[in-house]
Symmetry: C2
Subunit: 201 residues, 2 copies
Amino acid sequence: MQTFLLNDILQLEKQARTNLINSLSGVRTASLIGTQNGTGLTNLAIFNSVMHIGANPPYMGFIMRPVSVERHTYQNIKETGCFTINHVHEGIYKQAHQTSARYAVSEFEATALTPFYSNQIAAPYVAESMVKIGLTFEEEQPIACNNTILVIGKVVEVMVSNNLLDADFTLQLHQGQTVAAGGLDTYYSVNKLNTLPYAKP
Amino acid sequence: MQTFLLNDILQLEKQARTNLINSLSGVRTASLIGTQNGTGLTNLAIFNSVMHIGANPPYMGFIMRPVSVERHTYQNIKETGCFTINHVHEGIYKQAHQTSARYAVSEFEATALTPFYSNQIAAPYVAESMVKIGLTFEEEQPIACNNTILVIGKVVEVMVSNNLLDADFTLQLHQGQTVAAGGLDTYYSVNKLNTLPYAKP
């Protein structure tokens, strides 16, 4: 075991600290968040902080970095009141990663991912994604310690590939070749180990 | 593709809705959160909502369900001001899942996982875990829409197995057989696909 105390962490070179601390939350399915501004200019950004907030009613959230610089995802959500979350799979993870570059055009155009619109919300889905979630903005909670923001949406539309939906409605994410991200740049495939029964003493 | 609109979701049978909505956030490394109360009685609980909040200073968070019933993890954190996050690997995921049962004794005792103490914080680590993180309570943010709570801690100690630490300090989580959870009961192993370079246009 290698041990790092807080002072060791603070004294690490910046990129090393970023890599280590970003790894501590483990691997998480990479998601593309799709938005557009009031004039229809689209934006697509990769996030690995998408989280479950509640099932009834259905809420999901994600962490926005401080809006001290321009954050199109945040600004578009505040402007239009909606956004989409699209799971990344093995066929698109390189394009998904590439959305984190600074483009002068829409990331859809830059990465050749395909915008797709339902008639439910004014935000683009990623056509290639096998799990597409449409949300309306519900609330935001500012995080005092470092000015990040928890953004929460209500799920108003879910589109899933038929082969993912199990009889009990649990998604078989491995059948959609879901890709999980660890740290900032490492991508993982997943294999199902097991489904465990409801735990009782 | 199968489509569910909000009304479809709300009309699903409760367990089906829970399974579907919990699946939408994808797979995430399962973590065991270790705490104890003021008299040293330990608690261990599985969570899959552990998230990165910031790297400098290092902060992590997780979502607590409403404290309308007794939540030992939450009560212990408020009482002692600290907690541990311990990654779950393939060797302990069944025991980790079993911590979600309602025991009259400590989940350490009930599941035969081993408490381990450093001299930094008054909360038990899981000795078997290859990524152990000690945190002090930093802040909590109540989520208005459903009374869940975002709990945030400052990372004060990190212990990682030597074979996980890459030269750039990114953790090679697959080398520690990290286990990701999807939905409430499905567990996945991970395999590394790729490390991608910093994205530029």
